[in-house]
Symmetry: C2
Subunit: 335 residues, 2 copies
């Protein structure tokens, strides 16, 4: 195959941050994806309808592409059903739970999941998505996702009409739960970096801050389970890059920040993973259909074409180191 | 207990590097330990009697303490039994195997362990110690030590009089093998950082280059097995810090170097670990007897006293970040 033309994909999990980072990174997603969902763990966080409105306006100023950004709010201990309702009326499509301390800017995250139940009930009623960073605080880093599955199951069972996304699944355990044991209201996003990296790439050779993210990349068996899920054609798994830019100063320091900047390489690299798994025919559904279907959104109208030609990923974009910097990818977005 | 006076300990595994680093770090070990064994993976490596002589002289120039440094040579594909013999005659007490690519300066390491057997036979004959970085190249990072145990067992069985040290054990599997299944000629060193750190301290929060070492720190269960082994009174486990200094520039960068600089805090921190395990009475044997016995050396003559008083570890020593920088340790070396 020389090229692949597919429906414009959606990225249901991306970090644009605030200015000046936002200006530097928005285009890498907006040029390729038809729509995206912006994560609300900015500084300051996006907590309310008003915050979301401000952020939408800010993105609009710099969004020169035919690209729509969906808003989410960060659920905090102070969030109320009224705040949820107002956000929904302001076209916020999701509320995101960050368990306390498990990732970037989560010091104000949730420690008591039960305390959020009135909010979940309101979201269920309104048809607003619950987006979960699925890691249990205080647990050994490699076990956090597994231990969170009980919380997920409890929520999914208590609110059977609440639509839920378990974001950036990273373990075979989570894949197995979502695939075989979760109710219909649960789906999961899979990042491209979790499809191509393991702990070997983070700590197996020299220490690689560019491969440090949360949830951390895991074992070869976990990676293979993720590839299997992504390429299976099961609509419970869809694309969310969790592209998370940091300056080199924030990554290469005494306390490095978590996040992989994958936006510029995401779609070609997903294509490479799918092709290597013999499942290129499943890419379009994973990237452009299953997410929209779970969110209850129409599919994108336009198309995008990937050329099958070796592409050497630049060492940096606007001084940001991308995933696969300097490496060759078998696919390239056609301009 | 207000203080603990014990026989001068030995550190059978320490990295002094070359100048100017050597000058900056030697004293932190030499002030506290009666003797130490210097690792030979310097740049350039210590491969021969002549290299070892030069390194011994260099150390002698800067060694202003009542402290003896033992020499080891690095076993390479080019090492011959004659090289071994000459080294032995030059008072080199150990030959060290670095499997290729598993740690700092191991690109010239061993890929074919069988090829070393003539050297092992010579070392067995002479009574020279085989020191092993026990990780299997090419294997997933968390499984490397486990997979190396087969190699260790093969060597230990083929050369029953060859004395072997499995350095810096990091897993419950290695502890279990050494403790319950290894022949008499096998012992192991345990670093202080593997006794206090897990992957949570490396990748569980922010990325911490100061906690990055090889073998990488592992799970809570692994750490507990190491504490149990160190504090057990089993003479197969003894002290080797693997203190490995790097400049902040080498640690906090795009490809960070592996090594924890523990020399300034090692003995007080071992004491804290032993006390917390209710085994302070086992510290002296672990630190000052079992190693010397395995190496066939007399015990040190002098003593050292640790005061039981809170000690805040400095943020850096000569611009090097030590283990537990800025933290309080319950014990302090009395000057």
């Amino acid at each position: 195959m020389d090229s692949l033309t597919m429906r414009k994909p959606d990225d249901f999990h991306v970090h644009y941050r605030v200015l000046p980072m936002l200006r530097a990174v928005l285009g890498y997603t907006a040029r390729v994806f038809g729509r995206s969902m912006a994560m609300p763990n900015t500084v300051p966080p996006i907590r309310t309808a008003s915050d979301a409105e401000d952020y939408r306006v800010l993105l609009g100023v710099y969004n020169k592409w035919k690209h729509e950004v969906f808003m989410a709010i960060k659920l905090l201990a102070s969030t109320t059903p009224e705040i949820i309702r107002e956000a929904y009326l302001a076209k916020v499509i999701a509320g995101k739970v960050y368990p306390v301390g498990v990732t970037t800017h989560s010091d104000d995250g949730i420690s008591d999941f039960r305390q959020q139940w009135p909010n979940f009930a309101e979201m269920e009623e309104l048809g607003m998505m619950l987006s979960l960073h699925g890691e249990m605080p205080g647990v050994f880093v490699l076990d956090r996702e597994l231990r969170f599955l009980n919380v997920l199951e409890e929520i999914a069972t208590a609110f059977p009409r609440l639509k839920i996304v378990l974001e950036h699944v990273s373990t075979a355990d989570a894949v197995d739960y979502v695939w075989r044991n979760s109710p219909d209201n649960v789906a999961a996003t899979i990042t491209v970096h979790h499809l191509v990296l393991t702990l070997d790439d983070l700590i197996g050779g020299m220490l690689r801050p560019d491969h440090f993210c949360k949830p951390v990349v895991k074992t070869p068996a976990d990676r293979m389970a993720l590839v299997m899920a992504a390429t299976s054609g099961n609509p419970k798994f869809f694309l969310g890059t969790d592209s998370a830019p940091w300056s080199r100063k924030d990554k290469e320091c005494a306390e490095g920040c978590a996040g992989v900047f994958s936006a510029p390489v995401a779609l070609p690299l997903y294509a490479q993973v799918f092709e290597q798994a013999g499942a290129l025919d499943k890419l379009e559904a994973f990237a452009s259909e299953f997410g929209a279907q779970h969110y209850g959104l129409p599919l994108n109208e336009g198309t995008i074409t990937l050329a099958r030609e070796p592409w050497e990923v630049p060492q940096s974009y606007n001084a940001l180191v991308p995933l696969y910097a300097g490496r060759i990818i078998d696919w390239k977005v056609e301009e």
